[in-house]
């Protein structure tokens, strides 16, 4: 027997013993309760409870060297093989029901009505305890990878496109940090490391860069159904070229970076107009509004605040985005966050805000 299954034998034994005590002590009361409320309800309950117990049986999912427990039926849907799981569960349930029903018929026909009631009461109580144990959350497990997503990052020269792509994995300040994880690939750590220590962060490269991450939303229900990692590519769309265009899987979003100090200037409006027309081409929507989510990221902000930064955007700029994009949101992000009134050391990366942008995009995509 696998070691992770051993504690469950103890759980089932304890549940059986506790249920036997409860059924023995309160047999008459339990029988009266079920008899006086609804006989049909009692039968449905009697049939349904064991089935729920069987389909919620623990599913053990291995992540690295660790084994996590999930709820069987949910894990089966999440990891595949749901039909086989359902058929096995059905067979086990029919077998269990035949056994219990046979036992009840035998005791009933032998005149042991109280004993038959005790057996059915035991089934109610034991099933309830085990069902409760089955749905107690574990630390959660990692489900199969979701299809990849691509986020194209564009913006005027010097607006912080490469920095955004490179430092996204260092953002520990966004409020999403508690429930999302963002981990770079080995190649992307090299990009991040190359940005660290450079006084300007980005050498004005003619090559558009890309960063690959795995983003995982950990929601409240992830404890039951697992967390699904999403491979996320951040692809820079260069100043004069379109960068490395990827196969369009339909799972794309866009980021336009803009230096916060230039958010209200006339020149930046023209530049944003150009970026938006480029996104129209990338999104394959030259005439209509862009359906894919677009995040406007104000970079190099002094006072970074988590969440939406729409109040920092001028009315003209907001109108421009409303005209071109169906779903857009403004954010602020920095790689030079001041803490305790102090700016980071020269070239040191202290990132904030990037994860909020990516979490919003992934949710919308």
């Amino acid at each position: 027997m696998k070691p992770e299954r051993r504690p469950w034998i103890a759980v089932y034994l304890v549940a059986g013993v506790v249920a036997a005590f409860v059924a023995a002590i309160w047999n008459a009361r339990l029988t009266q309760f079920f008899a006086t409320t609804s006989a049909t309800g009692a039968i449905v309950f009697f049939l349904l409870l064991p089935f729920l117990v069987i389909i919620t049986r623990p599913a053990f999912v291995r992540t690295g060297a660790r084994v996590h427990r999930g709820i069987g039926v949910l894990a089966a849907f999440r990891k595949g093989g749901a039909i086989g799981f359902f058929l096995r569960s059905l067979a086990a349930w029919i077998g269990a029901m035949l056994l219990v029903s046979g036992l009840l018929v035998v005791t009933w026909s032998a005149g042991g009505i109280a004993l038959a009631a005790a057996i059915s009461n035991w089934v109610y109580v034991a099933s309830s305890i085990v069902l409760l144990a089955h749905v107690v959350p574990d630390a959660g497990f990692i489900a199969a990878m979701a299809p990849p997503m691509t986020v194209y990052v564009t913006g005027a020269p010097g607006s912080g496109k490469t920095t955004f792509i490179g430092v996204a994995g260092l953002d520990t300040r966004s409020r999403e940090r508690g429930s999302w994880t963002l981990t770079p690939t080995e190649e992307t750590t090299l990009l991040t490391s190359s940005l660290h220590g450079s006084s300007q962060h980005v050498a004005a490269s003619s090559d558009a860069v890309s960063g690959e991450y795995t983003i995982v939303p950990h929601r409240a229900w992830s404890q039951f159904i697992g967390s699904r990692p999403v491979p996320l590519a951040l692809v820079e769309v260069g100043n004069r070229h379109e960068g490395r265009r990827r196969r369009d899987t339909g799972r794309t979003g866009f980021i336009i970076t803009l230096r916060a100090g230039e958010a209200t200037s006339r020149a930046s409006l023209d530049a944003i107009r150009q970026q938006l027309s480029m996104l129209h081409k990338l999104a394959g929507a030259p005439a209509s509004r862009i359906a894919r989510p677009v995040a406007l990221v104000l970079t190099c902000v002094d006072d970074w605040t988590t969440g939406s930064a729409k109040t920092l955007v001028s009315d003209e700029l907001a109108q421009l985005f409303d005209e071109h994009c169906r779903r857009w949101e403004a954010f602020s992000a920095t790689s030079q966050l001041r803490e305790d009134g102090k700016a980071p050391e020269q070239g040191e990366l202290v990132a904030a805000g990037q994860l909020s942008v990516l979490a919003w995009l992934v949710t919308k995509i």
């Binding site: 992540t63 990692i142 260092l170 795995t214």
Partner: protein, 279 residues
Amino acid sequence: MIGMWGSRRAGKTTFVSALYHEIRRRKEEESDIWKMVGQTDAANELLLRDWERFRSSNFPETTPSDVVAQPLIYEVTRPVGDEPKTTTPARSWSGSLRKMSEWLIRAGADRETITLNLFDPSGEFFSQPNRLIQDDPVATQCRNMLRSSDGLLCFIDPTRSDDNEYFPLIFRNCVLLSKLLNEEAGGSLPVPVAIVVTKADQFPEAFRDPRAFLRSTMGRAAFGALMDYCERREFFAVSSVGTGNVEGKGTDFKPLDQPEPEGVWAPIAWLLDAMNGRL
């Protein structure tokens, strides 16, 4: 299994010898219950060879990077009630329940025997993270051992001889470990990590507040990455030889006298408790 992780000359092998020295000292000075016995050839060999070197005022040899490292398994017996007092609250009601049941099981016993399974890879894997992802038997063994570690001892050497920044090294190592332990999903490490400042005899402030010392030594970015990936962590400062007991320049150091280790048991005790769900 406790994986030891840190750069070359950070003091990983010396730490094991110092641990043995510390347990012998405790046996002589505190209680004869204390005992540390090697359970494998590699563990006994290390005690015989390196501890003898260590006792005769020489640091152990660095672990070679071209030899497949074997786990070092020791049986450590300690008096019951020796567990360090921690301010970390129990993580969950089940942790408290386990703590209580262990207390009941151990009630009346005067000693506790623990199997200490340490893995001491070459520091080259830390200093050159590319080396770890290579497809050779040594790197494969190292990856497998780290992957099956239940806790990590992360050694930070504040006297690094190179002038490189901490950030690129720490960040890449954290990401690599995260991918090893969590597979592609990444995220924070699923095991407790004891972050150990070594050679603290040269930095008395590290003993007072190892966390603050590391933050100022490593810089905000490197420290932030460490904090981000090591969710269950505790900071420690250790000296394998003792304060004022080392001489030398550059990378060539030598103990002056018999070693008097400081703080070497605390990270192990914390890790054992954290791994057993007592914290």
